[in-house]
Amino acid sequence: MRLLTAVLRTIRHSRRLAVGLIILGLMVLLAVFSPLIVHAIGGGSDPIEVAAYEKWLVPGPDHLLGTDQYGRDVFAMVVSAMSVSLQIGAIAGVISTVAGVIVAFVAGYKGGWIDGVLSTFTGILLVIPTFPLLIALSAYAKNVSLFQVGVMISIFSWPFAAKTIRSQVLSLRSRPYVDLARVSKARDLEIIVTELLPNLLPFIGVGFASSALGAIFGLVGLEVIGLGPGGVIDLGQIIFNAISTGALTLGAWPMFVVPIVLLTLLFAALNMINIGLEEVYNPRLRGVAGE
């Protein structure tokens, strides 16, 4: 509750955080209501169905962003693709943050051979070249679900979070306030959750944002070169279609430009939120009087 009021207060003071949250909020809203929007565009029929409309219609009042090579409505496609991209980001972000945080806290707090084993393991995963492996994996994984793609991507993105958070845990666990908690009969788990975790929220936040972004862009990267898993249409796949059909030369520029603009906005929004939240997390940056 106290954190919430602090966040609200900071939003009022930090224009960066406010702008980031508004952009992200709008995108999430768009994603949440994407089935409704798609339905409204189709007016009863499915606008993303092959040959729903004529091919290559230029943007106009009926089709705000035109149609593609199969006669699908680009606006409807973009809206549902964005929902897919955000879901991938959220799934992979949550999985890799949770995995990274658990590994980092166990390794950093327990130390000794446990730390040795876990750190070596994360180190090994870190040096595996992710992208070629993802390409190979996606070749085997046709028609995989969104969740499976998220898991696939997060297998390789959690070590980054784990590494940075572990180093912070190492520096925090020898702080006197941890000793004070121990002589106050606090158990290990309690110390980790109440003493260490709050001080690491900025790092966890950054870890979440970077793995979410990494997952979104990882999938986009796969789709753009035409190697994405078959079952999902995300923003990358629309870009791939635009490139492979030469949509720009046919006057269907929104197919290419709109997904890229959305991805850029998403990137900017998440980064602005990160920087803005830093002020909430760090009490030294709060108002001098404390309230």
Binding site: P176, L180, K185, P198, R286
Partner: protein, 294 residues
């Protein structure tokens, strides 16, 4: 409340790379006893790196010694039963060195006090808990309304260190392990702090292990003093005896390192220290300390 805290042959080694043998010995075969009655102040004096803070961590159960044992009421503190452990935890409480790092910057300072109230079951209701906290804050001459609800960075070092004393005041332990509690405080705050410690000894019967590198505070506190160098205790006795008839060369060096508040004494003091250094170099005994950085 158990009446004795005893260190028996405590040795603490740390792994270290690039050192002969692969480890450094921070504490080497240290044995001493602290008695709860009569309440006393025992000072542990030594230079940086002599192992005094490690001893504090051993006594507080934060660091398990590699050999030897720390006994509370005759039992090893790492082998206590649940009930005995609870008693030991409440009965042996610390005051740490750095008043800036002792509070979690994420929370208000009240939390450190409330934690003590809750973890040790000092009060059954919030109202009695608050009463207790306010009473203890007044006991260390802090105004509750000036400190409660504040974040650590909004308080001075002296205020923060006294909140730690208020915490001790609430818990009423038999033993206070004070690890250089005044080294980061300025002069008049330091006296204030030491006086509160002496009050605790007199009024609440608390025995203090006072760890410091500063002999002038030892003088002020009185009681007994132990001198530690390179992980071993080389001298123990009443402050007056050790101060006036030091038997170990390291104690002499320490005594000569006290700055005199007298402009005329400055010149001779400096010469004395230099001469002592020369002496150390020529006929250094086995336990001679490293030349301190001046």
């Amino acid at each position: 409340m158990k009446s004795e805290l005893e260190l028996r042959g405590v040795q603490q080694r740390f792994h270290a790379r690039g050192v002969e043998g692969g480890y450094i010995t921070a504490v080497d075969d240290v044995s001493f006893t602290l008695a709860a009655s009569p309440p006393q102040v025992v000072s542990l004096v030594g230079q940086s790196g002599s192992g005094k803070s490690t001893i504090a961590r051993n006594v507080l159960g934060l660091q398990k010694p590699t050999a030897g044992s720390v006994l509370y009421g005759g039992k090893d503190i790492f082998k206590l039963s649940r009930a005995e452990y609870d008693e030991y935890r409440r009965d042996v409480q610390p005051v740490f060195q750095d008043p800036y790092a002792i509070f979690n910057p994420f929370y208000r300072v009240d939390r450190a006090l409330w934690k003590a109230v809750k973890k040790f079951g000092l009060a059954s209701t919030r109202a009695t808990g608050l009463e207790l906290i306010e009473e203890s804050l007044r006991a260390v001459r802090l105004e509750p309304e000036n400190v409660l609800g504040r974040y650590p960075h909004q308080l001075s070092g002296g205020q923060r260190q006294r909140i730690m004393l208020a915490r001790v005041h609430m818990l009423r332990p038999s033993f206070i392990i004070a690890d250089e509690p005044v080294s980061m405080l300025d002069a008049q705050v330091r006296k204030h702090f030491l006086d509160i410690l002496l009050d605790f000894q007199r009024e609440h019967g608390m025995t203090t292990l006072f760890i410091t590198h500063d002999l002038s505070t030892v003088y002020y506190l009185g009681g007994e003093v132990m001198v530690i160098t390179k992980g071993s205790i080389v001298e123990r006795g009443p402050v007056s005896t050790v101060m006036h008839e030091p038997s170990h060369p390291y104690t002499k060096l320490l005594l000569d390192s006290i700055p005199q508040p007298d402009p005329d004494a400055r010149w001779t003091t400096r010469i004395n220290v230099d001469e002592l250094d020369e002496e150390e170099k020529t006929d250094a005994p086995a336990t001679a300390p490293e030349t301190p950085v001046i």
